[in-house]
């Protein structure tokens, strides 16, 4: 009988202890106005809801998240209208790419000639291990269509992409039907010929406006040969380099595009033929106009992957002075690497050419189809051989001597001091003269 009251006592004690501990847990924090009891309840509810694996390992994070979620509720009322993010703005722009245009009746031929099937190119490029992603390619495809629609142009081609430090350039190449451009002074080759045969448009993202690049001058090409600079992604950015580059980034970009085109645009042997007959008989002035050869049969892929002799440059080489006319190794690096896209199914493979002089330049050929594309930083391979040209020695000053040095103007104090000195001297002279006359004067001067 004695044990029962003792048990009850103990129970009461326990309940009291529990109640006091609960009171402790329920007491609100002075800082956050929360209490541990509610927090634990919420935490355990969260664990029950989410049932994370190995819950004990992540309990701290869960606890942290529970607290943060409470905080978010408070902030919710304070938050204003969220600003449109860059993604939303861009999406607005890109929406226009997908808008249906009321189709005007076109001839089939005309449609074909205007812009390439980027999807097909993308497919082959991917086999070659090159690509920008399928969605991106699709957007570029639509952007090219837009460009062709808005400009009366002849043939449009995806030239490639140049990476920059802040944003990238997607480059479209267009062959102008006629040289309608204003012509500059003689050194610039007129548009429609030589390095200015094609006109280039760039955009930062497909969907954003296409911007036309200015024509390139020989001086710009020569200056671009001497410098190595990353592109920033802003066409109006100044190029700070030595030797100084005559122009802005748009000019530099255009010069690099001209150099890359001249160095890396290749086609299977026999794909093109010269426009004039017997054009090859005049090697001193090779023609820069060429047409597609209708009799081209296509070179077997395995042959194309094996030897470089089946590939030819179809863009004129730029001469030293920056004009065109008709590969060598750099630092014991062969100019091209050739490859088959697949060794397991070679009968369906494409032949791939990768430039080692212009890292990022690729070409593929498959049957009668071929394409060149450049994706890279827009810089030539330099290895460790690039030497920044040093500024010229500073010109010497004219040797300084008394004949060229300018005398300093005397200040007031100096003048006064000089005057005083002259006066003193004169007085001395006078006094000396006086001394000879009589010696009394000297004493009076000394006193004064």
């Amino acid at each position: 009988m004695e044990t029962q009251p003792a048990n009850q006592d103990r129970n009461n004690q326990r309940q009291q202890a529990a109640a006091s501990f609960k009171a402790f847990m329920v007491s609100n924090s002075t800082k956050s106005n929360q209490n541990l009891y509610d927090h634990l309840a919420r935490l355990l509810t969260k664990v029950m809801d989410e049932r994370p694996q190995n819950a004990v390992d992540v309990i701290e994070d869960l606890s942290f998240r529970v607290k943060r979620e409470l905080l978010a509720d408070f902030q919710g009322t304070l938050r204003g209208v969220p600003l449109a993010t860059a993604a939303q703005l861009l999406a607005e722009q890109q929406r226009l790419l997908f808008s249906q245009v009321d189709e005007v009746e076109h001839d089939d031929e005309q449609l074909e000639s205007q812009y390439p099937d980027v999807n097909e190119i993308s497919y082959y490029l991917e086999q070659a291990g090159v690509g920008l992603g399928r969605e991106e390619m699709q957007r570029i495809f639509l952007a090219l269509k837009k460009l062709v629609d808005s400009h009366p142009l002849q043939r449009c081609r995806l030239w490639g992409k140049i990476l920059g430090t802040e944003s990238n350039y997607i480059v479209a190449e267009i062959e102008n039907r006629e040289g309608t451009e204003e012509e500059e002074q003689t050194p610039t080759e007129p548009s429609g010929t030589g390095v200015n045969k094609c006109v280039y448009y760039v955009c930062k993202e497909p969907g954003l406006p296409w911007l036309k690049l200015p024509a390139v001058t020989p001086a710009q090409i020569n200056a671009a040969r001497c410098i190595r600079k990353f592109f920033t992604g802003r066409l109006d950015a100044p190029i700070s380099s030595y030797p100084p580059f005559p122009g802005l980034e748009a000019n530099y970009l255009r010069a690099q595009i001209a150099r890359i085109s001249a160095g890396t645009q290749v086609s299977p042997l026999g794909f093109y033929q010269f426009a004039e007959e017997e054009g090859e008989d005049e090697p001193e002035e090779p023609s820069d106009s060429y047409n597609q050869n209708p009799d081209f049969e296509g070179v077997p892929v395995s042959k194309m992957a094996e030897s470089l002799s089946t590939w030819v440059h179809h863009v004129q080489h730029i001469l030293q002075q920056g004009r065109c006319s008709w590969d060598k190794e750099i630092l014991s690096t062969p100019p091209w690497s050739t490859k088959m896209s697949s060794t397991l199914t070679p009968q369906y493979a494409v032949a791939v050419l990768r430039s080692n002089l212009w890292p990022g330049a690729h070409a593929y050929a498959c049957g009668k189809k071929f394409e060149n594309v450049y994706v890279g930083w827009g810089l030539k391979f330099a290895g460790e051989g690039y030497v920044q040209s040093t500024p010229l020695v500073v010109q010497k000053d004219y040797p300084s001597g008394p004949d060229v040095t300018e005398a300093l103007d005397a200040s007031l104090e100096e003048e006064q001091a000089l005057e005083a000195a002259i006066e003193l001297k004169q007085e001395e002279l006078e006094s000396l003269e006086g001394e000879e006359d009589d010696e009394d004067d000297y004493d009076s001067l000394d006193e004064s």
Partner: protein, 313 residues
């Protein structure tokens, strides 16, 4: 990048121009699973591709329990048969940096010889003299006792130079060079978002299971991206320490790198993915999709460091 979602990850990084063909992707899917099984890796990553003149090296990375310490690299030509890369210790690194230059050939047994030009001899001799002179000086000092002191240092240096000239030129195979290049790139240019990995109190580095991705605003700042390599900088200012969480801020931030501007951060794929490119190791591309735990990096380049970067910025 994790081999399990290769296609998705490649889609995010291929703005740099290089990608994998369908055949290669399929092959990697198969072979990396087997690789993980054979080498008992807890995780296998596709690390990248080093472009050679004749063949390309595909590189895979296997990780153990500790994500940071147990990194093992393997290479392959056809994405199916994998070979272990030799470890890149300090000696190998110094030998390779002296002997190898130019592009990779694509033949792992290709031998690079240390260039011994007459003109280079003098310029190099000085640098070597310093390095070797110190090492040999110590060795000799111990052997001969410390009676000679500073007076003999010059002689020793001259002797070291002579020994250098007499010694056969260093030869390294391309396999070792590849190991060094991969090691250096991984050391200097592998990037993770802040918070993606945690360090337990006993030092083990693990993926953070509760990492939910950086916010859009945070993903636009370089401070929130860290080098996934052994930290080299010591945080010395109290102000720096104040905002740091020791379990996630145990790595060096990209924004502390010198020279500034060696990272290019951009928004791509319709401004939905944050992409960071290294300008020092051209070809290293990192991506992170904000507000999701998806992140990864891949290297597709020629394996050469961009030594001219300072002129190019």
């Amino acid at each position: 990048m994790d081999s399990r979602w290769l296609l998705c990850s490649l889609g995010h990084v291929c703005g740099s121009g290089y990608t994998l063909s369908g055949e290669q992707r399929a092959a990697l899917h198969t072979s990396l699973i087997l690789l993980g099984k054979n080498y008992k890796f807890t995780q296998v990553l596709f690390w990248g591709k080093v472009l050679g003149l004749k063949e390309d090296y595909f590189i895979a990375q296997g990780r153990g329990d500790d994500e940071m310490k147990g990194k093992t690299f393997l290479y392959s030509f056809n994405c199916m048969e994998w070979h272990l890369l030799p470890p890149a210790d300090d000696l190998t690194v110094s030998e390779v940096s002296r002997a190898a230059s130019g592009r990779f050939t694509g033949n792992p047994s290709h031998e690079y010889m240390e260039p011994r030009g007459e003109a280079e001899g003098e310029a190099k001799g000085e640098a070597k003299g310093e390095a070797k002179g110190e090492a040999e000086g110590e060795a000799k000092g111990e052997a001969e006792g410390e009676g000679e002191g500073e007076a003999s240092e010059e002689e020793e240096e001259a002797a070291a130079e002579a020994a250098e000239a007499a010694a056969p030129p260093i030869k390294v195979t391309e396999e070792r060079r590849l190991a060094v290049a991969v090691h250096l790139i991984d050391e200097e240019a592998s990037v993770v978002p802040r918070g993606a990995f945690t360090r337990a109190p006993h030092g083990r580095v693990e993926a953070n299971r509760s990492f939910q991705g950086l916010s859009h605003a945070d993903a636009g700042k370089l401070d929130n991206f860290l080098h996934f390599a052994k930290p080299k900088k010591v945080k010395q200012f109290f102000q720096e320490l104040a905002d740091l969480d020791p379990s996630i801020d145990f790595l060096d931030s990209l924004s502390d790198d010198f020279p500034k501007g060696q990272w290019s951060l951009q928004w791509e794929n319709g401004s939905s993915v944050c992409v960071i490119r290294s300008l020092l190791w051209l070809g290293m591309t990192f991506y992170h999709v904000p507000m999701t735990p998806q992140h990864g990096h891949v290297y597709m380049g020629d394996g050469c460091k961009n030594l001219n970067m300072a002129f190019m910025l």
